[in-house]
Symmetry: C2
Subunit: 375 residues, 2 copies
């Protein structure tokens, strides 16, 4: 992506001939691999949204990872992707009514406040600004902007996030790999790798996962999985092993969780071929994922007192989308339905950045209606 | 530690008046937090070793972590600690008969070869050089240099390593935190942290661990444990959370496994106070640790055909040494004894660097005897 020098990001605004007085909303989904910004027009009040949704422009920027590109570049990437979306849609900042930036890790009002302060520097004061956790945008991408129900995300990581119609919220899991996100793609794959090591050193039963995973990774022995962090109470190996070179070891060679999570399809194929160990790993993952949803539903009382009320259950992420014979998403849904027959599964048809835009639109409409009632 | 410029490390050799023609052995235990070198005199042939062992000098250097200090400095640290030990003992390199460098992560002949090549540059060609996995030095620290039996190390990480008298070897676990070292200090503490999160978000039962761990860490809520790597299929939070500052989160703030493992005593105290969750975590850890030993014993046939042969079982590491009412080491031993009544528990009285020196001494004696027989 072309990088503008500071201050030049918004230069296009002097050149663009703004088509009309059409007002727009920006929805952003900010991640490490890519950053997406959607520009939508303000839609008229209505009970049903137009289908397809009128998306004016979609801009994608690369990594906005502060660790990779530094803080200045990360902020610039987000600012740039908003400018790109506006420029592509033939708009400029004066047309913007609301911005919703959905980023994971927003769990505290302090997180929200820092981002809001920075966004406030870019947009005029009448622009409504919303900063939400990315899980909220995922829920909105399934409910078309309405904050009601529960979303279950199971990709590399996993989180369940829920809202009641009166604005209470709750979450479960989403605590990362160390803290028991056991149904995540990472969790499933890490258990599969562990099963390979345990079969190899005699602690666990033989499993088809051993040959299949080693073949997938192009390794000749389970020893090669063992990383440079082999540690004991006495010494820590990363020093010596890194220092003295040594064979390339797979597991810890690249600490990216996603790289490990990418092994999930291998686990599914072994389970489909009848491997007991792989089947057990997937069954436990299903229970873990269902448990996260149940914890949220229970705490919020989404199912009502008789546990039969209906509520949307938005399901997203690679682990739930695998459309294979061993269908993790369907199994999770079956588990949840037993306790909460009112859970209505939804697979979002739009991406989270659109969910973010719809969140902003929904809130904006509510405020407008309230103002209309007051006046 | 004072750093010498290249080549000056061995300058002391010109100044030291070598006391006698006494020959010495160096034993090294190289780690990330510290590096220990022991200088011992060659002891006479004997069935029993002198008690206490005649240690001429002990030198300690700081971190030899290549990641922290760079490759050149890491090598220099090891070279320096050997020079210090020799200098303190009033010896120089011409007095050295053998060097044993014990470093974890030495799992392949290629690892060994790289280190040997570098050691060969420092010492004259008649000096015997041995490079071993640190677990082997731990075993030798319990068996006084004899490679027979099994060692179980359970500190931050865990590994079981065994040798038969005819030189076969086997290991189990030691694969690091991702690959199922579940009985390690890190494993125990990670499960305790997970239990706190699960109690907090409604996925798990209430546990005393919640208040105790939060109090120990000076945190006000379990939310503060959740780190900056909260991830989903949609976006990865480390970017945004790091970038926008946010509350200090504990778990991922410092990726050191040892920092997490330091919570083991808290888990033990909760278990002693009757907490079910903490008790379950420790009981499972005991089974895991016992399983590692059993896997090694089984593969090597250390227990003989009737499973009653006696063999040394060396137990080291903070997890096994906790001398509390809930004694993990004793429980592990009880578990192992049920299957292998011949397992003889040993708590080493000397440190691994001494174990390394004894390994070198033992091998040296064997070679001398063989030469004596041949001539």
């Amino acid at each position: 992506m072309k990088r503008y020098r500071n201050g030049e990001i918004w230069d296009f605004e002097h050149e663009v001939a703004v088509a009309s007085n059409r007002q727009v909303i920006l929805g952003l989904d900010g991640g490490t691999t890519s950053t997406v910004c959607i520009c939508m027009p303000i839609m008229p009040f209505s009970d049903t949204l137009p289908d397809p949704l009128p998306v004016l422009a979609r801009a994608v920027a690369g990594c906005s990872n502060h660790n990779s590109v530094g803080e200045t570049a990360a902020r610039e990437t987000l600012e740039q992707v908003m400018a790109d979306a506006l420029s592509k849609s033939g708009s400029n900042r004066s047309a913007v009514r609301a911005v919703c930036l959905a980023v994971s890790g927003v769990n505290h009002p302090t997180d929200e406040q820092r981002i809001l302060t920075w966004l406030r520097d870019i947009f005029p004061s009448h622009v409504k600004l919303y900063v939400r956790n990315d899980a909220v945008a995922a829920l909105a991408s399934g409910t078309m902007g309405k904050l009601h129900g529960c979303v279950l995300i199971a990709g590399t990581g996993t989180i369940a996030y829920g809202f009641t119609e009166d604005g209470r919220e709750a979450r479960a899991a989403g605590a990362g790999p160390v803290l028991g996100d056991w149904g995540s793609g990472y969790g499933i794959a890490a258990l599969a790798l562990t099963a390979v090591i345990r079969a190899h050193d005699g602690r666990g039963p033989h499993t088809m996962l051993e040959s299949t995973i080693l073949q997938t990774l192009g390794l000749s022995s389970a020893d090669e999985l063992i990383g440079k962090f082999i540690f004991s109470s006495l010494t820590v190996s990363e020093t010596s092993q890194k220092w003295f070179g040594s064979v390339t070891k797979w597991t810890y060679a690249d600490p990216s969780w996603a790289r490990i999570a990418a092994l999930v399809p291998v686990v599914v194929s072994c389970a489909e071929a009848g491997d007991e160990v792989a089947n057990k790993i997937l069954k436990e993952a299903v229970q873990e994922l269902a448990l996260s949803v149940k914890a949220v539903v229970q705490r919020l009382g989404l199912c009502g007192e008789d546990e039969k009320n209906s509520f949307p259950l938005v399901m997203v992420g690679g682990v739930l989308e695998a459309n294979q014979r061993w269908d993790i998403g369907r199994e999770v849904m079956d588990f949840i339905s037993k306790d909460y027959p009112g859970a209505l599964p939804i697979r979002p048809k739009v991406e989270p950045a659109v969910g973010a835009a719809l969140l902003a639109w929904n809130d904006l409409m509510k405020e407008c209606l309230q103002e209309a009632y007051r006046s």
